[in-house]
């Protein structure tokens, strides 16, 4: 067993860290305040190869592994989880195509993203079907050889900026639950595709989250990703591969919280000594550090398994659930260590706390992760 990273990985981390320090941290607070989309940062990140990292080289991407990706993402999220989510959006949109798309689809749609700094979005959730993918209501009617899609998608990351969407809709009766769910790749400029309201969020405010509406959108077989009814499987496989990214968001937030808290605890005095001298603070810091390390190990293990082709939903869920819950706890403790200052926008920790909360919700809530874990545990040895 070897816990060291390769030279290439070290360079990638270095690049991401430098970019975070110089380009993200100085503007994160302001982007958050105004909910501004980080378009310039994305363009620069694209140039540096911080977007589209998991797209294989034959389609113009870097062809990096999930492990490379999470190492890089931790650095970005250290600066701003909203930007982290934004930069990762394309990878999520691409995943269904990588899993089920035709060669032609991959060349065309993945190629678009690597040729220019543009966006794509993964469109699965709906107002009444979030983590419960099989409950979706977007319908796809078959008309001869063609498909007509109607529905409303919600919580779509980069929804307002995407040039194309990987969209999940239902062919057939909603009673059939997951059986009819089918994936399509849908260009933004097709008639009937429109962007709905933008969410005004508690945290990760630089990330663009919108509704995307599909009204009688005409699609052909060229838009079909995988076969009819294969969408649910594709969505689940996508989650297996994307959940370690959320753990990377968690490690970034936690490391930042820990660094900020450590610095502050050494500076701030109470009762005549730095608060770092109090066991109550020391123990909080120790707890935070342990949670960070444990999340990081779970994340690395899950990402490593994916790279080895041994994709295991339970490992991804361990990393996601433990990471998200830990990040929430760690960011909350950071605010506590800062006291009144932690509650103000003068210091970054209040933002960490707001940003962390989303980790427990998107890509399957912490509750859904427990369901996945329990289901897999109970199936073992049966």
């Amino acid at each position: 067993m070897d816990f060291s990273i390769t030279e290439e990985q070290r360079q990638l981390v270095e690049t991401a860290r430098k970019f975070t320090r110089e380009r993200i941290i100085p503007v994160a607070q302001k982007l958050d305040e105004h909910g501004t989309f980080p378009i310039d940062i994305c363009k620069e990140g694209w140039e540096l190869g911080l977007m589209n990292v998991e797209i294989p080289s034959e389609y113009g991407g870097l062809g990096l592994s999930c492990l490379d990706h999470v190492l890089m993402m931790e650095e970005i999220n250290y600066g701003c989880a909203g930007i982290g989510t934004t930069l990762a959006g394309n990878n999520l949109a691409c995943m269904p195509l990588l899993l089920g798309g035709s060669e032609e689809q991959k060349r065309h749609y993945l190629g678009m993203l690597t040729e220019a700094p543009i966006f794509a979005a993964y469109a699965c959730s709906e107002p009444d079907a979030g983590s419960d993918v099989a409950g979706m209501r977007t319908t796809v009617r078959k008309v001869g050889d063609e498909y007509v899609m109607t529905g409303q998608k919600r919580w779509i990351t980069n929804g307002g900026y995407a040039s194309w969407y990987s969209v999940f809709g239902r062919i057939g009766d909603p009673k059939d639950r997951h059986k009819g769910v089918t994936c399509f790749v849908v260009p933004r400029d097709l008639a009937g595709v429109s962007v709905g309201k933008k969410e005004d969020k508690l945290g990760q405010r630089a990330s663009n989250t919108t509704d995307v509406l599909f009204e009688e959108v005409k699609l052909t077989r060229k838009n079909l990703v995988g076969g009819e009814g294969e969408g649910f499987k594709i969505a689940m496989k996508t989650f297996d591969r994307s959940r370690p990214w959320i753990a990377a968001g968690a490690t970034g937030i936690m490391r930042r919280a820990l660094d900020e808290s450590r610095r502050y605890a050494l500076e701030r005095k109470a009762f005549g000594q730095p608060i770092a001298q109090f066991q109550a603070i020391q123990f909080m810091l120790a707890e935070m550090a342990m949670k960070y390390e444990a999340t990081r190990l779970l994340m690395l293990k899950a990402a490593w398994s994916i790279g080895e082709g041994r994709i295991d939903a339970i490992e991804s869920s361990y990393a996601k659930a433990f990471g998200a819950d830990s990040a929430m706890a760690v960011a909350t403790d950071a605010v506590q260590i800062f006291g009144g200052y932690g509650y103000t926008k003068e210091y970054p920790v209040e933002k960490l706390m707001r940003d962390a909360k989303l980790l427990q919700i998107y890509e399957g809530t912490s509750q859904i992760q427990r369901m996945v874990i329990a289901r897999n545990l109970l199936a073992q040895g049966a």
Binding site: A134, D200, K201, T332, G339, G340
Partner: protein, 379 residues
């Protein structure tokens, strides 16, 4: 032993609940978003007698007890946490020490109009380097004839930007530590009282707070509360009461979050059934309800002890510690039960989540409460 409320207590609670439903809940989101002090609503609450709930009627108060006061703050905070703390500061931190330590002359000028709700008070203890640790005060008051010259800085002063007077703590003798602290009551229009811009905060955004500079502010000796060196005692006994208010505020926030989560769990469906039918959700709701009830009992008990004239330092600290931590857990779970909708500013729960956080920090952090409690336990 009987745990029922009196008729009078129940009436006040119901009045506040109705007010919160009608006037606060529909507007709280807007005030939060616009960082707007709800002056109109505060004025109406003052007209209802909530400026000085437990202040004797001869000094303009409602002449009720502290149990009533805690019930009122809970109900108001359930509607709007910012309004809740505005009232809590005026009642507990401003009126209370003047009622307890003020001379009749001081009460006439500085208590009656505030208890009647014609004016608003604030409380100046915290400094940039002295939060929960009051002995680190650096604001000085130097005696000059019949007055004092005050210099220094106070921060996080809730109501600071809109208050008409401040109960202010200073050092008259830096060498004496806590024994050198002296308290004054000063109108904010006094020359040398300089407000800085309002703080930008994670939550309670409709409750304005700010840093205040005191630049050679001259205050006559007649505005000194108690004797020189009495300040620490005044501050600590005031906070014993203030913590009841914050405990009540926390419960109000927690209850708002709980009620919204409960109602949402009946509407929202996953896997074809309303989510309240999932045990994972039911158990969260059960724990939330239990924690809030336990917190309320602790707060009411502390208030009741105060009404009996009994020492309640330990009980107030327990109430504040438990209620504020419970409110945060409850608000967090409420966001979780709402899922994505809980993260959106379209609903109120994300505000409750942000508002709850401060209750673990101000008027003594959770850590300070644990110090207070353990000091008394280990005596």
């Amino acid at each position: 032993m009987q745990i029922d409320l009196s008729e009078e207590q129940r009436l006040l609670r119901d009045t506040c609940r109705e007010f919160a439903d009608k006037e606060l809940r529909p507007n709280a989101k807007k005030w939060d978003r616009e960082h707007r002090f709800p002056a109109e609503a505060v004025k109406k609450l003052f007209e209802l007698g909530l400026g000085g709930v437990a202040v004797p009627s001869e000094w303009g108060g409602a002449g009720m007890d502290n149990v009533s006061y805690a019930l009122a703050i809970e109900e108001i905070s359930r509607g709007c946490a910012s309004t809740g703390v505005t009232l809590s500061v005026n009642n507990s931190l401003y009126c209370d020490p003047i009622a307890k330590y003020g001379t009749d002359g001081q009460k006439e000028s500085f208590l009656t109009p505030y208890a009647r709700g014609e004016k608003l008070g604030c409380f100046g203890l915290t400094e940039p380097q002295a939060g929960s640790d009051a002995a680190e005060q650096r604001t000085t008051a130097v005696r000059k004839g019949d007055s004092y010259l005050i210099n220094g800085t106070k921060n996080w002063i809730t109501n600071g930007p809109v208050a008409d007077a401040i109960v202010l703590f200073t050092m008259t003798d830096l060498s004496k530590g806590t024994k050198g602290i002296t308290c004054f009551v000063v109108e904010t229009k006094t020359p040398g009282f300089v407000r800085q811009k309002a703080d930008e905060k994670l939550g309670i955004c409709a409750s304005p707070s700010c840093t205040i500079f005191f630049e050679n502010m001259e205050v006559p000796i007649s505005q000194r509360l108690g004797q020189e060196g009495d300040g620490f005692k005044i501050a600590m006994s005031t906070l014993d009461g203030g913590r009841i208010g914050i405990g009540a505020q926390a419960i109000g926030i927690g209850r708002a979050a709980f009620e919204e989560a409960r109602d949402y769990s009946k509407i929202r469906k996953t896997f074809d059934i309303p989510i309240f039918q999932h045990q994972a959700i039911q158990f969260m709701l059960a724990d939330m309800a239990t924690a809030l009830d336990a917190a309320r009992l602790l707060v009411l008990r502390a208030a009741w002890l105060k009404d009996q004239g009994k020492r309640h330092t330990r009980e107030s600290s327990m109430a504040k510690l438990f209620a504020s931590e419970a409110a945060n857990r409850v608000a967090d779970k409420a966001v979780q039960i709402h899922g994505g909708m809980g993260y959106s500013k379209e609903l109120d729960v994300e505000r409750h989540f942000r508002d709850a956080r401060i209750t673990e920090i101000y008027e003594g952090t959770s850590e300070i409460q644990r110090l207070v409690i353990s000091n008394l336990l280990l005596k």
